[in-house]
């Protein structure tokens, strides 16, 4: 997938565990794991908003576009 989720990088910077983050943003740890491991096909704006709120960052800090040729 050309869109890469750098959630683990931001989480490491903010020193927050996956369990804590899933509790704060209100999604299951399994779904957070899907997101972290780049297996997600899409992300809801509401989830992105909660992640940005919890990690105090911008969507661009979490999502990255890499051209696949």
């Amino acid at each position: 997938m050309a869109i890469i989720v750098n959630l683990d990088v931001i989480m490491a910077k903010r020193k927050i565990s996956a369990g804590d983050l899933s509790n704060i943003i209100g999604i299951t740890p399994a779904n957070l794991s899907i997101l972290k491991n780049n297996k997600a096909k899409a992300i809801r704006f509401s989830t992105l908003e909660e992640i940005c709120k919890a990690l105090d960052c911008q969507p661009g800090d979490i999502l990255e576009f890499k051209r696949e040729d």
């Binding site: 999604i27 779904n31 899907i34 997101l35 997600a40 096909k41 899409a42």
Partner: protein, 148 residues
């Protein structure tokens, strides 16, 4: 109170009953055909082809029934939109087409089989469409499951 799980259970029981009936009919087909021919006073030369047709149709029939049973087992486990179910529906559909072809060939010596050929082909076609629908639903479900 009647609910969906009881409905699935009833379908499963019916499938198992039909499996037993098909096996018994296939085993007893020489005896049944002989009696039918003597009762209706038809040409005794068609006994062997009739028995062969019944046994030939019983094989894809049983394959379809076993697939149907496995499909119902998955539905009982609340696993509806999975790749396995698409495969089961494909098998049932192809089995229907196989029965249709066998019946079509048998229609040359016994016209009544042509009706079964048309019915089986129609049933196979409907199942193919259902299979296509489940296939598309599977894609939508995957998309939905991986939307966080």
């Amino acid at each position: 109170m009647w609910n969906s799980s009881k409905s699935v259970l009833a379908s499963s029981v019916c499938t198992k009953i039909v499996i037993v009936i098909v096996i018994l009919t296939a085993v007893a087909s020489p005896y049944l055909v002989k009696n039918y021919i003597s009762y209706t006073m038809k040409d005794p030369d068609i006994i062997t082809p009739l028995v062969m047709t019944i046994i030939a149709c019983a094989v894809p029939g049983l394959m379809a029934l076993f697939s149907l049973d496995r499909l119902l087992t998955n539905i009982k486990r609340k696993e509806v939109f999975i790749e396995k179910n698409v495969r089961h529906l494909r098998v049932i559909s192809w089995c229907s087409f196989a029965v249709s072809v066998i019946s079509l060939i048998s229609g040359f010596y016994y016209l009544l089989f042509l009706i079964i050929a048309v019915a089986a082909a129609f049933f196979g076609l409907i199942l193919r469409v259902v299979k296509n629908v489940i296939e598309q639903a599977l894609i939508i479900k995957n998309e939905n499951d991986f939307t966080i």
